[in-house]
């Protein structure tokens, strides 16, 4: 096994996830099998291939941007439509504790 319980808990902490023991064990197994499957790709020699993060790598420059024109945004009401709680035209969240 390449993925340990510690790895899972670390990633969970970064993702703000609370996992119980059963979930942790399941993720260890799941992540491990996913990574093992991907591992298969390493059987190919890709040393001469540039890593590709985006498709359309060779796109002409002009495809990658827009001109600096502004457009009206959502009305405030719409912007806040999904807010669980709101006040003074703003999203309201539980007091932020710096972490």
């Amino acid at each position: 096994m390449r993925i340990t319980e510690k790895d899972v808990l670390y990633v969970a902490a970064l993702g703000n996830l609370e996992l119980d023991a059963a979930e942790t064990a399941r993720f260890v197994a799941d992540l491990d099998s996913i990574l093992s499957y991907v591992e298969k790709l390493n059987e190919l020699d890709t040393s001469a291939v540039e890593p590709m993060a985006q498709v359309l790598y060779d796109a002409p420059e002009t495809l990658t941007w827009r001109d600096d024109h502004e457009r009206p945004g959502f009305p405030q009401e719409k912007s806040l439509a999904n807010a669980p709680e709101r006040g003074a035209g703003q999203f309201k969240v539980a007091k932020v504790i710096e972490r």
Partner: protein, 661 residues
């Protein structure tokens, strides 16, 4: 002395022992109309959450599209900061959780930034020389989006709630990271000032700290002086004003030095500057390793900046502060300090150049812009753009100074009126009836009045006890309400005092020799200075000269005249051990010096005003005879040479005259 050292002393000692190493991370908002990845407005101060859309709200499925103008402005900044712009750079996701970051990641650049390896030159230290130049490296400049704004205070439920406004979310930023080349809080201040100045010149950001368009974090470490390796650093955040920057850095430097000096260790952490307590405080995040899990942003293509585009942008870079300063020094003959002040902003430099060009006197323009204009703006709390005096108007005033219409002193009063009322210099001058009096006859008339009204001062002046030139000039300026041309006043005052001396001389001469010589007019060169005539109207020229003794001689002779003993030191001085010889020598030299000139018409008379009084006439007579004997041997252009003396212990006449030839 067993006095306890003050905190300041301890900090000063630690400063000697430890050297700070500082690098700055500066975020500037790029001046665009729309956000970096969507078309929402970047306007500051709009109602909260009104400049938002699915992209900057982080709604699922929304895709970012890069704003070309943001890239252009960042490239412009990078080129001006001497960076190498990478042809290909890449956006990356920086993952972290915070309520003002709705996507859960910030789109930034990581291992392939837009530009690298730049530098700027700072001038550290104050003074007219402008301090020492130092090159500060710039590690990188990259593009990223801003987060929203969290408001932690000010609402009734702020104790348990944080309010979030996402108008800022997605505003384009350039992050500019310096090398750890800064060695003091002053250098950090100078670097940030210079950086801001360049960015303002470029017009890529308004650098407004209050509105958050310029923000600064610092990496700080200290090491014992002489050590090569860097110490452990802390990151200090929240340095959002120039004032706080230096204070926070000084605090953090002092804190680290104290920890190290006490044998402790610096913990690598993020610290927040607290403006209330004036301290940096460790943030609670320190127990969590920062793991942003950067990975390439799959929704954005790699950013390609072609050579051609770079070149196109390079053409738009204006003359930068350094080059402008050099041009001001070389082209206008300004000092380094003056050039630095006048190039502080493009607006000021532009204003100055207009004044210099239109007035035709670059140095005069520099003085007036720096002293009067900036002083008045400062006092009125106005910006240059709000100045009631335009460059043309100021140049107009300088023209009036240059053509002699107003004196420099009068011009200050005129400027005040122009600043208060916005009128032109000519209008103010006309309104106040101001006009510098440059007419010789007019000034001479006033000078004569002043001399006639102050006979006591004239006696003191001619007696050599003290120079009353300053007094007379002051009286003349007062009588003309400051409008007389000062160099003219000085010139004419000298002439008129001589004329007054001549009148005294002829009054005495007429008494003794029953003559009726009287003043007729001033001569005009090559005529002698004064023209007198006898009863029959026969004119003759008169020249007047005045003699001076040096200070030591004068004091000694004054003491002698008042029957005081000279001090032993004075007596031993060879120069004046023989007071009569001193008198003789001085008098003789005065006559001979005057004899060099050539006058038109018949040989004139020469009157030497001898400014140090003798005790009595017999002593004066003796010296006069002695000088006369010596003058016989020399050729003189004068018909007669006379000495005019103040004699101290003669009852009837204050002045006595002696013929020398």
């Amino acid at each position: 002395m067993g006095a306890t050292k003050s905190t300041a002393d301890i900090l000063e000692a630690l400063k000697e022992k430890y050297e700070p190493v500082i690098g700055l991370e500066v975020h500037v908002q790029l001046l665009t109309r729309s956000k970096i990845f969507c078309a929402c407005s970047t306007r500051f101060g709009d109602p909260p959450n009104t400049n938002t859309c699915p992209v900057c709200l982080g709604l699922p499925g929304a895709l970012p599209v890069l704003n070309r103008e943001a890239v252009a402005k960042a490239v412009k900044a990078a080129l001006a900061l001497n960076c190498r712009v990478n042809r290909l750079s890449r956006f990356a996701r920086k993952n972290y959780f915070y309520p003002d970051l709705p996507k859960g990641y910030q789109i930034s650049q990581f291992d392939q930034p837009l530009a690298e390896h730049g530098w700027i030159v700072i001038r550290t230290g104050e003074g007219p020389q402008g301090g020492i130049e130092k090159r500060i490296g710039i590690t990188r400049l990259h593009l990223e989006e801003d987060a929203g704004k969290s408001i932690h205070d000010g609402y009734p439920d702020s104790y348990e709630k944080t309010y979030v406004d996402l108008n800022r979310s997605g505003v384009p930023l350039a992050e500019i990271v310096s090398e750890p080349d800064l060695r003091s809080s002053e250098e950090a201040y100078d670097y940030l000032t210079r950086l801001k100045q360049i960015l303002l010149y470029l017009g890529v950001s308004d650098c407004n700290m209050e509105e958050g368009s310029l923000r600064c974090d610092a990496n700080v470490s200290v090491r014992p002086r002489g050590q090569k390796e860097f110490g452990v650093k802390t990151e200090v955040k929240n340095l959002n004003s120039f004032r706080y920057l230096q204070r926070a850095l000084d605090y953090e430097i002092g804190r680290q030095a104290q920890v190290l000096d006490g044998g402790g260790k610096i913990e690598q952490e993020t610290r927040l500057w607290n403006t209330q307590t004036q301290r940096t405080m460790g943030m609670r995040s320190k127990e969590y390793a920062h793991d942003y899990r950067y990975f390439p942003e799959p929704d954005l293509l790699p950013l390609v900046v072609s050579e051609a585009w770079q070149e196109e942008i390079r053409q738009t870079i204006p003359e930068l502060p350094d080059a402008k300063q050099r041009r001001f020094i070389e082209g206008y003959g300004l000092s380094t300090y003056d050039a630095e002040v006048l190039t502080a902003t493009q607006e000021l430099a532009g204003y100055y150049e207009q004044v210099a060009g239109k007035s035709g006197d670059a140095k005069l323009a520099a003085n007036w812009v720096m002293v009067e204009l900036l002083g008045a703006l400062n006092a009125a709390g106005k910006t240059l753009a709000e100045s009631p005096v335009s460059p043309e108007a100021l140049a107009g005033l300088l023209e009036l100074i240059r053509d002699g219409t107003v004196s420099g002193k009068m011009a200050k009063g005129v400027f005040e009126r122009m600043f208060a009322g916005g009128a032109s210099a000519r209008a103010v001058v006309a309104e106040l009836g101001l006009k510098q009096i440059t007419d010789d006859d007019e000034i001479r008339r006033v000078v004569r009045q002043v001399i006639a009204a102050n006979p006591k001062q004239l006696d003191q002046d001619l007696g050599g006890k003290k120079s009353l030139e300053g007094f007379f000039v002051g009286q003349v300026m007062k009588a003309t309400r400051g409008q007389a041309n000062p160099p003219k006043v000085n010139e004419l005052l000298k002439k008129e005092v001589e004329r007054a001396a001549a009148d005294i001389f002829f009054t005495r001469h007429n008494e003794i020799h029953s003559t009726a010589y009287a003043f007729v007019r001033n001569g005009s060169p090559p005529e002698p200075d004064l023209i007198y005539a006898d009863k029959a109207g026969k004119e003759f020229g008169v020249e007047v000269t005045r003699t001076y003794l040096n200070k030591g001689e004068a004091k000694f002779l004054w003491d002698k005249a008042r029957k005081k003993q000279g001090s032993p030191q004075v007596w031993t001085s060879g120069v004046i051990s023989q007071p009569d010889q001193v008198y003789e020598g001085t008098l003789l030299n005065a006559v001979l010096a005057k004899g060099q000139k050539i006058y038109s018409g018949a040989p004139p008379w020469l009157i030497v005003v001898f400014e140090y009084p003798l005790g009595d006439t017999s002593e004066a007579n003796m010296i006069a005879n002695s000088v006369a004997a010596k003058l016989k041997e020399t050729l003189s252009p004068f018909a007669q040479v006379w000495a005019l003396w103040q004699v101290t212990n003669v009852l009837t006449a204050q002045y006595e005259i002696f013929r020398l030839t």
